[in-house]
Every structure is written in structure tokens, then in C-alpha cells.
């Protein structure tokens, strides 16, 4: 009664004969339609893939993880420092749709060549917060008595290197610092994440 029980004569196709593509006969109109179909489908597919690809590759074009630069203040204020000045900076770390805001201690001081540098207060030995001792003119770590000079250079004690300098830049006359974490217990300064 139904299709499978009767032999049908489609009237428009020939049975499979290994022709490419099947279902076509030698009629040019049919193959033309076939190709037209294919092209239309491909162009629609191509058009749609544009937003899909841009969506998927978004993190490659836009920075989705970054630590912001922190503002230390007017650059001129630090020009005449003789002793290290302690500052609390606010650091913003952006991670996709998350943002972490935290505060960290840094010291603004003069380097060996007289340039303004910014030191991380994190001791490169085991991570304690190193205070500046004005009376002794040195940084003295309270945990294991590591001693550093006013420019952060290592003087004595268990720390394997001097206090870590942080990247700085001047923007619109303001001193900006990029806060980073460095690996402890190693002789060379290595950024950790």
C-alpha cells in the first residue's frame, strides 16, 4: 500500500549508478541547482561563523586578565626623598568577569644611580613584610633578621637576593607602579603569575 511495497517511477531521477552526485541525471539544470544550493548554504554558514569566531576568540583580542598599574602620587613629591617612604597601594587584578582589589605595601626610594625606584615590601626569603628602620638606616626583616640597604640591596642574613624592584612608569606626571609577586628563596628575581 505504501511506498515500500510498490515499485515507483520517480520520473525525475535514475537509480544509483555511481554517478556524482547521486540523484542527478545528465541534466545541466539539476547540477546547477545543486551547486547553487551548495554555495548559498556555504555563504550563510560563512556569514554566521563570523560572530561565532569573534565570540570564541574574544580573549585573544582583548586582555581579559591583567593587573592594573597603581598610582603612587605626584612624581615630583618623590624627587627629593632621602629615606625610603612607605606607601600603601591599591592593586586591581582583572580576571575575566572577576575583579580582585587588594592593598599592598611598597617603598619608594632612591636606587644606586640616584633614580627613583619602588621596592616590594615582601621579603625574598620567606615573604614577611620588611619594615624600614630609620635609626639604623636599613631594612631589617623581623622574621629571620635579613638586612637590606636603603636601595634594597642585600647586606646580610638568609635572604638569597635583595629586595625586589617593581616596574614603574610616569603617566601624566604621576608615578605609577605595577605590582607583581616574585618567587621566594631563589637567587634571581622571577615573577610568579
Amino acid at each position: 500500500m505504501e511506498a515500500e511495497s510498490k515499485t515507483f517511477n520517480p520520473g525525475t531521477t535514475q537509480p544509483s549508478s555511481g554517478q556524482f552526485p547521486p540523484g542527478t541525471n545528465s541534466s545541466d539544470r539539476r547540477s546547477f541547482l545543486g551547486w547553487l544550493l551548495g554555495i548559498c548554504t556555504l555563504s550563510v554558514g560563512a556569514l554566521l561563523s563570523v560572530p561565532l569566531v569573534r565570540f570564541g576568540l574574544y580573549p585573544l583580542r582583548v586582555k581579559t586578565t591583567e593587573t592594573s598599574w597603581s598610582d603612587l602620587g605626584d612624581e615630583g613629591k618623590f624627587a627629593l626623598v632621602t629615606s625610603p617612604v612607605r606607601r600603601l597601594i591599591t592593586v586591581e587584578h582583572l580576571d575575566g568577569w572577576r575583579k580582585a582589589v587588594f592593598q599592598r605595601t611598597v617603598y619608594v626610594t632612591k636606587g644606586a644611580d640616584g633614580q627613583t625606584i619602588v621596592l616590594s615590601a615582601v621579603c625574598p626569603h620567606l615573604g614577611c613584610s620588611v619594615p624600614w628602620n630609620e635609626a639604623q638606616g636599613q631594612f631589617i626583616c623581623p622574621c629571620h633578621a635579613g638586612v637590606f640597604a636603603r636601595d634594597g640591596k642585600r647586606i646580610s642574613g638568609p635572604p638569597p637576593r635583595g629586595m625586589d624592584t617593581l616596574e614603574t612608569t610616569i603617566k601624566n606626571g604621576r608615578l605609577m607602579v605595577r605590582y607583581q609577586y616574585f618567587r621566594q628563596l631563589v637567587r634571581t628575581k622571577e615573577v610568579v603569575a
Binding site: 505504501e2 555511481g18 556524482f20 547521486p22 572577576r98
Partner: protein, 493 residues
């Protein structure tokens, strides 16, 4: 065709088609591709190709679109109560083409429901459930339910007010089931109340379980369809040989593809010019919120209003299940071979009545909302809130510890001074940032519940034996500083 004949032909390729022909034959000899394509493309349609047959493949096309957009959305989405809304806001407000893709996905689900109705109306009218197509019809009914389940589970995922409350109402209906109602509700929700566990299981259902079932049933559906053959035109009547039959390729395939292009163009235009909005985050404590389900659930929503209290069982369970059983069991109930709609008044008539009633219920629901001033006002307010949220710039989620740090300075300057003392004295090196604790020292959060301020001061100035053994040193600072330190430590959260 005998294999020998086929082989002969492959030795003598057609001129001008040499390479494609040979590649095709190479693949065919190893996969049987030719026979497969032949079955797919040369399937006969009695009575010829029709535009009214495009809805089935339209459904497949939208399903593919939903899968693709869904996978891409999942690159940024997280299904937890505290993150879901933020990640969707990120997609919609920040990521390139995020709003467009999300709208494609949301409108696609409405398109699925519309196409479902069109497809089942067409197959019903053409009597395409008759003549040994019972299993085909049943698999179609199952697919219908699964698609509605996809729409229901997907609706919750943005975790905005609309999503939360609409699902709350929807899952409450489950508790109307006899005997197992309450258990069922708690199973679906992952608890007595809606929460993050609800979101987790809805996500798993939406992404893994229901799609798996859809794939399986879809494969079955298409197989059964091809086995039974297209039912084709209802004219002229049961004397089959008088029907002209056309193969699927090229005309029907062309129509199917043409319809698919129309669909994607419509969805694309809608998604571009009228992107779907995300409302403010779910607030379970908001008792004023008036939830409304998506448009295709409005008829059921309205229907429920007529069955309060003890009548609920009749209206929510008995009547809908009877209609469902009749609908799904149609091929077993209607055994006549007659397929012409005008010769099937009972079937077509009752179908029309149900469809029309559903439509009227939907309209009534909208009208009653408009005429109830209180509700209309609240709904307008809700729309406004949504608009306001959409216009606000994206706000990243603030990571936990950082919030406390940011807040201290704002709230209490004395405690803020204490924070400086905390860091100067290297308390953070053992007790951690913001007193959260570390391997070297216990957390200080909540210490105000254990010690009074003067006790703390004594402990700090003169640590106990146990503290000294653990590595604690006496804190040597002046009185002001120690008091500010204690104020800071007491404020830690």
C-alpha cells in the same frame, strides 16, 4: 546494479569530471556512501515536494543552531548561583557578539516551539500518523516533550529575577502530582527551595541528559520515517499508483534549505535589532515580583488559574494527562486509513478545538495582565528594572578577600590604621592577608567572639606559652596602635 558493472564504470570515468568522480568512487568503495546518499536524496515523496513539508527539517536546522550557539555560550558561562548571572552579563555586555549569540539562542528556543506546532499540525492534518507509523508518531511526541524540557531547563540558567521566579512556579506545579508530587519537586529542585543545586542539575539536564535523549530519539524518528516512507499528498485517495512521486532531491531539499535560510535570516535580524535582555540578578527575598513564563507556557499558566484548591488535581493532572494520552495514542485510536482532512471531522475538529483553546488561553492571560492595574504596574516596573540593568556597564564580581580590604578604609579609619599596624608588624606573614590564616598561623576572622578587647591586648603584649611555641612574638607597639590593631582584627570578616 551489480558490483562488476559498478567497477566497470569506475574504470572509465566521465570526461570533464575525472578527479571528483574518482575521489567519490574511492570513498564509496570504502564506506558505501553512494547507497547512503541515494537513500537520503532519492527518497520518494508521493504527490511531489511541498512547502508544507519543510517544518521537520526546519526543526533539525534550529536544533543544530541551538547546539552550536549553546556550546559557544558555555565557553563563558558558569552554572552556580553566585556566578551564573555575572557570567551571562559578561557575555552580553563585554564579549564581542555575545548579545547577538545569546539572542540567537533564546529566540531559537521560541522558534523550536513554533516549528514544533507547525510540524505536528502538518503531520496531523496529513494523517501521517496512520498506516504503520505509530512508533514514528510516538517518537515525535517524546521529542516534543524533550524540546519543551530543554526550553524549561534553559530558562533558569541566566539566574535573573524572571528565570528564578518563573522556574519556582514551574517546579511548584510538580508537587501537584499524586503521591510522588512533593518528592518530585524536591528531586527537580535539588532541595525544598530553589538554589544553586537547582541550577547545577538544570544545567546538567540541559547540556547533557536531554540532548542525549534528543539525539537518540531523533535518530529513531528519522529512521522510522524513512522506513515507512513519506506519507505524501492526501490526494486523490487510496489508489496509490495514480500519485506522481518525486524524489527528495532536488526540489524538496531546495525548499528545506530555502526555509532554513529564511529561518536563520529571521532569527539573525531579530537577534541583531532586538537583542534579548538580561534582568537584574535573582533576589529570592523580593516578594513583590510577579513572574510570567515564556509565551508558549502562558496558556498553561492561564489554565491553572481556573482550578483552585481541591479542583487543582482535576485541572492540572487529570485533564492534561487525558489529552496527552489521547494525542500520543492517536495512531492506536484512529485506525481508519482515511487521510483526507475533510473526511476526518472528529480528529481534525478536536485538534482544532485544542489548538484554538490554547491560543485563546494565551491571549486571555495577556489581557488579564493588562487589565489588572496592580499587576500591569508591577510588570511595567519589572520591565523598567530590566532596561536599567541592561544600560548599566558591566560590573565584575569582586573576589572575596579583596572586598574586605576595600571596605575597611571606607568604613572605619581607626580600623584602617590598625591594618597598617597589622602589616608593619608582619602579622600577615603568619596570619595571612586580612586575617584569613595560613599554614603558619590560625585565622583571626571572628576572633572577637572568642576574646574581649582587653583580653586580646593582654595576649598580644604577653603571649601564652602555647602561642610562643607556635612562633608568635610579643607585639611591641604603643597603646594607640595596639587598640587600632585590635579594632582592625575585630572587624575582619
Amino acid at each position: 546494479m551489480s558490483d562488476a558493472a559498478a567497477d566497470n564504470r569506475s574504470i572509465k570515468p566521465k570526461p570533464g569530471k575525472e578527479l571528483p568522480q574518482r575521489i567519490y568512487t574511492w570513498i564509496d568503495h570504502r564506506t558505501g556512501l553512494d547507497k547512503l546518499l541515494h537513500q537520503a536524496l532519492d527518497a520518494p515523496i508521493p504527490g511531489g515536494a511541498r512547502w508544507s513539508y519543510v517544518f521537520g527539517s526546519g526543526l533539525l536546522f534550529i536544533l543544530l543552531s541551538q547546539i552550536i550557539t549553546g556550546v559557544f555560550l558555555a565557553l563563558y558561562y558558569l552554572p552556580s548561583a553566585d556566578r551564573a548571572h555575572t557570567t551571562i552579563a559578561y557575555i552580553v555586555k563585554e564579549v564581542t557578539s555575545g548579545a547577538f549569540l545569546r539572542s540567537l539562542h533564546a529566540y531559537g528556543s521560541s522558534a523550536m516551539v513554533i516549528l514544533l506546532i507547525l510540524h505536528l499540525t502538518q503531520t496531523f492534518l496529513y494523517g501521517a500518523y496512520k498506516n504503520r507509523r505509530e512508533l514514528l508518531w510516538l517518537s515525535g511526541c517524546a521529542l516534543f516533550v524533550l524540546v519543551l524540557a530543554m526550553a524549561f531547563t534553559g530558562y533558569l540558567l541566566p539566574w535573573d529575577q524572571k528565570a528564578y521566579f518563573a522556574t519556582s512556579v514551574g517546579t511548584n506545579i510538580a508537587s501537584e502530582f499524586p503521591f510522588i508530587g512533593d518528592w518530585l519537586k524536591r528531586f527537580i529542585r535539588g532541595g525544598s527551595d530553589m538554589g544553586t543545586l537547582t541550577l547545577s542539575r538544570f544545567f546538567v539536564a540541559h547540556v547533557f541528559l536531554i540532548p542525549a535523549a534528543i539525539f537518540a530519539l531523533f535518530a529513531l524518528h528519522v529512521y522510522l520515517f524513512r522506513k515507512a516512507g513519506a506519507a505524501g499528498s492526501v490526494r486523490p485517495d487510496l489508489q496509490a499508483p495514480r500519485l506522481t512521486t518525486e524524489s527528495y532531491y532536488p526540489r524538496q531539499l531546495l525548499m528545506d534549505l530555502g526555509f532554513a535560510v529564511v529561518l536563520i535570516a529571521a532569527l539573525g535580524i531579530l537577534a541583531h535589532f532586538r537583542p534579548v535582555e538580561l534582568g537584574p540578578e535573582a533576589n529570592p527575598a523580593d516578594t513583590r515580583y510577579v513572574p510570567r513564563p515564556e509565551w508558549y507556557y502562558l496558556p498553561i499558566f492561564q489554565w491553572l488559574k481556573y482550578w483552585p484548591g481541591s479542583l487543582a488535581f482535576l485541572g492540572i493532572v487529570v485533564i492534561p494527562s487525558s489529552i496527552t494520552v489521547l494525542f500520543a495514542g492517536l495512531p492506536f485510536i484512529d485506525r481508519r486509513r482515511e487521510r483526507r482532512p475533510w473526511k476526518r471531522p472528529v480528529a481534525v475538529g478536536s485538534f482544532a478545538v485544542v489548538l484554538l483553546s490554547l491560543f485563546c488561553l494565551g491571549v486571555l492571560s495577556r489581557l488579564s495582565d493588562r487589565h489588572d492595574h496592580a499587576i500591569a504596574a508591577q510588570l511595567a516596573h519589572q520591565r523598567q528594572e530590566t532596561r536599567r540593568f541592561m544600560q548599566a556597564p558591566f560590573e565584575p564580581e569582586m573576589a572575596e578577600a579583596s572586598l574586605a580590604a576595600a571596605n575597611i578604609a571606607l568604613v572605619d579609619p581607626f580600623a584602617a590604621k590598625g591594618k597598617e599596624v597589622y602589616e608593619m608588624q608582619s602579622c600577615d606573614s603568619c596570619h595571612g592577608d586580612n586575617g584569613r590564616g595560613s599554614a603558619e598561623g590560625p585565622k583571626l576572622i571572628g576572633i572577637s567572639t572568642k576574646f574581649q578587647p582587653d583580653q586580646l591586648e593582654a595576649l598580644l603584649r604577653h603571649p601564652t606559652r602555647k602561642m610562643i611555641d607556635g612562633g608568635m612574638n610579643a607585639v611591641v607597639v604603643n597603646d594607640q596602635e595596639i587598640k587600632s590593631l585590635i579594632a582592625y582584627v575585630n572587624s575582619l570578616k
